[in-house]
Symmetry: C2
Subunit: 561 residues, 2 copies
């Protein structure tokens, strides 16, 4: 999950190295998450000695870390590829088990190229005796670096030209077009292109759950996050006025599509841009055309080069303005309430974020609140929004922190179309919002943050267990409880004995939280780990979560009928 976070921030390949079996299988849930959410992870697994150097005796021997066969394991040796067979074509886009040192370099390169091409995890199994062998270095000259750009499959130029011509025709004919910036824009390095297109054309634009923060939400045509029936009503109203939807980097699943409730204006045209196809869809007729083997980045690039803004004929409704967070209609709480509520957090956390910061959020109830934030310019938002493995965010945030050291400010561009200035000397903050239940699952990564001195602000939303699960099922069941911890003692126990690298605070009132958030927002370069435990009521969760629970229940009901 660390490698996953590293890649989500840097858009490079995050790499992990494990021992076969024990470490390898422990990492599998993280790999499945990366596979599901198109994250570039290379998993190098150290395995037993190579097949050619094994004696027949050795082949028949059961080795530790390697599961023996179900039958006759005292007579028949183990299957050395048993773990490979588990993951191949299921959670890996490319796999090689090195058996010949002469082809090893090519095989490794192939896996790396596939990881970029699919933006999914790949595996290399390396026999222990290969690690000290010399190889032919010619690949280093042939292919001095492997980049995203030289790995995606390019369609022939005439095909791209024709597609761009078609897309342009749709755009020129449209009165009220919209752009959706979805998850694969990030994974295929096209986020700034999408923002350029928005800047160039002033089209309405929407975020998705998985694509949140890809579109710079500081732009004046930002119309909110659309997620079918689970959207804010006013966002849906806007979206349903779009006569053309340009959906860049589309990924379809129940979370990203509001449990499959995406609707279009009845006569809308929809163009979906994916890494492997472009799809034209006509909502009035239901007709579709799919062009396969085209990566949308190529098309988008050409589109920006070719578009003639003088030919645009948009007639957006004049009464509709940029999406504002008050459209969420959060209740007004009595002023005498001093305790912190999710409602209060939803209102205050956005003000605590600076342009260019990096925000990581754990799977849990607060993820639902962030959907409807208007995020500051060039803030990078990272969350596992689809695979939703509780406990993922803490190690992922550690990986993000390492990537921010290795590739500082790589998510910030000097000539970003938003024109929001991020001063050169501003050090983007890394912020993690994490529930107490989830944090307990992977808490030891806190110690790694101390060890590798990763500056981070961690908000532990302490609501006494798995509130998101309570909202769905079993509100008072003990399986949703966790132990109460003294969160403010953890970092000291985990290695910061003299409290020199970390600050821990427990906060129970709004006034103290406001002070803390303000202080953190303006703290400058302190390079500390700040852990803030925020006490919340057990059954307090954002109203957007209730909409999801209702929508999911409705979908389940419908699928029964």
């Amino acid at each position: 999950m660390l490698a996953d976070g590293f890649s989500r921030y840097s858009n490079k390949i995050g790499c992990l190295i494990t021992t076969y079996g024990v470490g390898e299988l422990s990492a599998l849930n993280g790999i499945a998450g990366a596979f599901s959410e198109n994250v570039k992870v290379l998993h190098i697994v150290g395995v037993a000695r190579s097949v050619h150097s094994r004696s027949q005796d050795y082949n028949n021997q059961n080795l530790h870390h390697l599961v023996p066969r179900l039958h006759d394991s005292n007579f028949v040796g183990p299957n050395h590829k048993v773990y490979l067979e588990m993951i191949k074509d299921r959670v890996a886009c490319s796999v090689t088990y090195l058996e010949d040192i002469n082809t090893a370099c090519d095989e490794v390169d192939k896996v790396i190229m596939d990881i970029y091409r699919y933006s999914k995890p790949g595996y290399v199994f390396v026999p222990v005796d290969f690690s000290d062998m010399l190889v032919d270095p010619s690949n280093l000259f042939k292919r001095p670096e492997i980049t995203l750009e030289n790995c995606v499959s390019y369609a022939p130029s005439p095909v791209v030209d024709e597609l761009v011509r078609m897309v342009l025709q749709y755009i020129y004919e449209s009165k009220c077009p919209s752009i959706i910036g979805d998850v694969l824009c990030d994974r295929f390095g096209a986020s700034s292109m999408v923002n350029n297109l928005i800047q160039l054309t002033s089209m309405w634009n929407f975020a998705t759950v998985m694509g949140k923060s890809i579109i710079d939400e500081s732009n004046v045509m930002y119309m909110g996050l659309y997620n079918g029936n689970e959207s804010i009503e006013t966002v849906t109203e806007r979206f349903l006025q779009s006569d053309l939807v340009l959906h860049f980097g589309i990924q379809v699943h129940e979370i990203n599509n509001g449990h499959y409730t995406i609707n279009y204006k009845e006569d809308a045209k929809v163009i979906e841009f994916h890494s492997e196809y472009i799809r034209f869809f006509d909502a009035s007729t239901g007709n579709e055309k799919v062009f396969k083997g085209v990566n949308f980045v190529q098309v988008l690039e050409r589109l920006i080069q070719t578009i003639n803004v003088n030919k645009l004929n948009f007639e957006y409704p004049s009464n509709i303005e940029k999406f504002a967070t008050d459209e969420v209609n959060l209740p007004t709480e009595p002023t005498e309430i001093t305790k912190v509520t999710q409602n209060y957090l939803q209102k205050s956390v956005p003000h605590y974020l600076n342009p260019g910061d990096v925000l990581v959020c754990e799977t849990g109830s607060f993820q639902f609140a962030i959907r409807d934030f208007v995020l500051p310019s060039q803030l990078k938002y990272i969350t596992q929004g689809f695979f939703l493995s509780i406990g993922m965010a803490l190690p992922a945030a550690f990986g993000v922190g390492i990537a921010m050291q290795d590739y500082p400010r790589c998510h910030i561009s000097k000539d970003h179309p938003s024109h929001v200035e991020i001063p050169d000397d501003y050090e983007p903050r890394l912020i993690l919002i994490e529930g107490d239940g989830a944090a307990q699952m992977t808490i030891q990564e806190l110690t790694s943050m101390v060890r590798f001195q990763v500056p981070i602000e961690i908000m532990i939303l302490n609501n006494n267990g798995y509130t998101i699960e309570r909202a769905i099922r079993g509100p008072t069941r003990s399986y949703n409880d966790v132990m109460s911890w003294d969160w403010t003692k953890l970092l000291e126990a985990f290695g910061d004995f003299k409290k020199q690298r970390t600050v821990s605070a427990k906060i129970e009132t709004r006034s103290k939280l406001a002070m803390k958030l303000k202080q953190l927002k303006n703290k400058g370069k302190l390079n500390l780990i700040e852990l803030v435990e925020i006490k919340l009521d057990t059954m307090d969760f954002p109203k957007q979560l209730q909409s999801m629970v209702d929508a999911a229940a409705f979908t389940r009901k419908c699928s029964l009928e």
Copy 2:
């Protein structure tokens, strides 16, 4: 790993329930360990609604926690059985994905019976809509309980009689026979039978790495732990005098067989008793006969009933006595040394154990010391000796603790052949010996112990990281380092705010350790969690580990030649 520990203690089925994908895959390393070491675990996985209640639309929908397909995932729904396909026949002896409520009970029963039959993990995938459905209760009458005894496959009586006749003939002809009590004796509930046979016949007997503590080592004919070239020399000398070896519950792999260096007296006869076969082997001729489809427990039972002790003709060498720990030849350290060393621990820990206690040891350097302990009568020793996944012991010990609450004293028998009295009011202690590096991997289970009030004594051997790995490779590499923790603050942070349920101590000298061990040995029913951090030097490890490292290096070298 909790379920695994539960089963290792109770010999019942340990059960875990997870959600498909996220929880399920996170548990996979634990399952692979249980599979490798014949532990009875039932993994119930909650999955999406059943196939018959799914609409076509639903079938095409990508669901959270479920990896989408590599190709065309926006058009083709996911494979709902993708995780089942991973584990089937690889880390599970039996699997069912419930699809028909009418056959569900039979299918679940079948998995449970297979788990007992193979002593390996099984899986039941339960659709979410099945959990509230009513089923035909007739299985409850047909099969009121499923036990180990009614699940193993019994051979026809004449076959068993003939096998017993053959075995008896070997025994009656032998002058110097030996019994080995190996791991499957425990898993198939035959440990006390083996001890009865020893008591009845006064045969020499040996432990194995995986079978440690199955044989009651208080018996006067206990000759030590034999593990091929990795044994204490004097144990090997004894073993090589055996003209007949009765190896009960055999499991063959590099750890249990000293990297495949088991030797026999040149004219020895060997009989291997396994859950699925009996094998006769003649070391002088190399001839073997394998009888398949026979569970050894049936043969052993009949053997004990049939054996005529008057026909025994043993002539053991009169100069050989019971194995004694001083045969390990531990060095004598200068008396002025006050710090704790592995050498000191090896000498003192055995005295701290009481008959009937339960000792759990983590994968790590101290595992190697315990091999040559002479354990007190009816002490149950639990360790993951073959799969060797670091971090397994802490959750496993928690599972053991729960099992000790559910089945108190189930490892102790009133009429145990050892005749060592364990008073009725003695509450067996649960002791965990754990390295600091391993403990950091699964440290959050400490909080579960506080939550469920599992009394336990935890010795944290703090040697600044992965000493066992340093011994094998990279003694000073940073990947073998871990953060220094303040171990004595953990339990307080993890929920025992007022230090009412736990006691934590940091120990750096021998005198303090001696006092602590004595106090714990005699503490009576305090029902506390006692955490004792013991400081050790980074490169200090038991001499037996060096033998293993040397032996493994030698085997690797040989397999190359």
